[in-house]
């Protein structure tokens, strides 16, 4: 892809890269990284779709009142796959993530268009109840936000409100399992009745993950889960994500490109509300197709 193609407008899709080595330009670099308007992003390059999609999004548009936050994004998230969403601040990656369990519903004036399906069932269908949807699609937030209750109650809250466990013993088992899977059990087993807010930041975030997996969701959405944590806590969470991958489908938004590279199988790059590129993480981080992706992950915006 040459700078000319990009600047000439949106007409030429990015896949139309020259197939042979003969057409490669060696012109001096001039303006290719100045591509920052939405018109320059024609359509998503790479492979946004996959065969065994857990979540299937087609032509998603999100509006906040008059302004459009997401432009025509189509993306599949495969079963038991970790998909990382990266992009500069305000590129719509978090907004997109929050569409997946309808967390945007609570925002005044937010409108979501397009087909979003979870296992083929419409997420934004007229009869869809968000309560069971959010039980199936759990979420972990940027700031660790345990409830100001005991560690036990934090984890037990989901099973309680959804009526998953009927007996105390059953609940105990769920709590222990969730904490074990979140790698927190050994650290907190002796103080389950202590407030969850008394834990360290990394422990709190793992508590939030334990809380999310306590209702056995199918998908876990993570919105910059490590942005408030130190590198060691971050490494723990990343390790945890790696382990969780066996049983869950995970979509993670992150500002740390290294993190995206480490934890995900596929990476989606968003820019100004558009999905610029989706590819295998290896490809994105060694040889991205789109110049914008390249510029972003190599730190060339400015």
């Amino acid at each position: 892809m040459t700078s000319m193609t990009l600047n000439a407008g949106a007409a030429v899709p990015a896949q139309d890269k020259p197939n042979s080595a003969t057409d490669l330009s060696n012109k001096p670099a001039t303006e290719s990284t100045s591509v920052k308007t939405q018109e320059d992003i024609a359509e998503t390059v790479g492979s946004p779709f996959c065969d065994e999609a857990k979540l299937r999004m087609r032509n998603v548009n999100v509006f906040y009142g008059e302004s459009q936050a997401i432009h025509d994004v189509s993306l599949d998230i495969g079963r038991n796959q970790v998909v990382a969403m990266i992009g500069p601040s305000g590129c719509g990656k978090s907004t997109f993530l929050r569409c997946l369990n309808r967390m945007n519903d609570t925002i005044e004036g937010c409108r979501v268009e397009g087909d979003l399906t979870l296992d083929g069932e419409a997420i934004y269908g007229p009869k869809v109840d968000v309560v069971p949807l959010r039980a199936r699609v759990g979420m972990v937030f940027q700031k660790p936000n345990p409830f100001p209750k005991s560690i036990y109650d934090n984890v037990a809250y989901g099973p309680k409100i959804h009526g998953i466990a009927s007996r105390r013993a059953e609940l105990d088992e769920i709590v222990e399992n969730s904490l074990r899977r979140a790698g927190l059990w050994n650290e907190v087993k002796d103080r389950l009745d202590k407030p969850g807010t008394g834990l360290s930041g990394g422990q709190q975030q793992r508590l939030c993950i334990a809380r999310a997996i306590a209702v056995s969701p199918e998908v876990i959405l993570m919105d910059e889960p490590c942005s408030a944590l130190d590198p060691i806590a971050t490494a723990r969470i990343e390790e945890l994500i790696h382990e969780l991958r066996e049983n869950y489908t995970i979509a993670i938004v992150t500002h740390s490109m290294q993190q995206a590279a480490r934890v995900s199988q596929r990476t989606a790059y968003f820019h100004l509300g558009k999905l610029v590129e989706v590819n295998d993480t290896e490809t994105v981080f060694t040889n991205p197709e789109h110049d914008l992706t390249e510029a972003y992950i190599t730190g060339r915006f400015g």
Partner: protein, 231 residues
């Protein structure tokens, strides 16, 4: 694909990458000079020049270590990705190839000394000169293609290696004929053979450098005949 390593938000990063590349290219220049000098020493039976080649070899080794160290530092500090990562990786690989070319050049220089000691000009010098010119051009072109991120020229240079290999094989056949004709010349001709072998290896290393140009610019690994990876 345009390559530009001067547009990072971090100016320091720009400078680091730029100086890494420059270091490697300087090393390239040194190695090219070595090959030329070694062949020259052989052709003119100039043992002094050959000695010089052997001395400079140490500088080249030091260069390789420096390039390696700087590349390691960039990886540690900047965690480069995409084209930056490919840049660093290709520099490391090319530096290794260049170092080996340097080794071959010093081998040729040793042959030159050996052949000078034996006196009379043996047969096979024409072939050596022919192949030496070809691989020197390849090496120059490869480094040039790297400097300009020129995949086209790199691919062209890469193709030249086949010709060099063919020339080498025919030269070897010729040398074998000489040895059969005149068994007394075997030890001398063996030296010529080793030299030819070294030159052929230099051609291979030049080919490797071309492959790194493709890797750097296109991100495709076409080593070991995997040219289908080329986009």
């Amino acid at each position: 694909m345009d390559m530009h390593f001067d547009q990072h938000i971090s100016r320091q990063f720009n400078e680091d990458l730029e100086s890494l590349k420059t270091e490697m290219l300087e090393m390239g220049g040194l190695v090219t000079r070595q090959v030329a000098d070694a062949v020259e020493a052989l052709a003119n039976a100039d043992s002094e020049l050959a000695e010089k080649v052997l001395r400079v070899e140490e500088d080249i080794d030091r260069c390789e270590m420096e390039v390696d160290e700087h590349a390691t530092l960039i990886i540690a500090k900047r965690q480069p990705a995409a084209s930056d990562l490919r840049m660093v990786m290709s520099v490391i690989r090319i530096a290794r190839d260049l170092e080996r070319v340097g080794d071959e050049a010093s081998k040729i220089a040793k042959m030159a000394i050996a052949l000078t000691d034996e006196g009379s000009a043996p047969r096979g010098y024409t072939e050596i000169r022919h192949i030496a010119n070809a691989v020197r051009k390849m090496l120059n072109d490869a480094l040039d293609a790297y400097t300009r991120f020129d995949v086209k020229s790199a691919m062209a240079t890469l193709a030249e290696d086949e010709q060099v290999d063919m020339d080498y094989r025919s030269a070897v056949r010729e040398m074998v004929t000489y040895m059969m004709e005149d068994p007394r010349s075997i030890s001398r001709v063996m030296n010529v053979l080793w030299t030819l072998r070294s030159l052929e290896r230099i051609g291979d290393h030049a080919k490797n450098i071309c492959e790194q140009v493709v890797y750097l610019v296109q991100g495709a690994d076409i080593r070991h005949g995997n040219e289908q990876n080329l986009r």
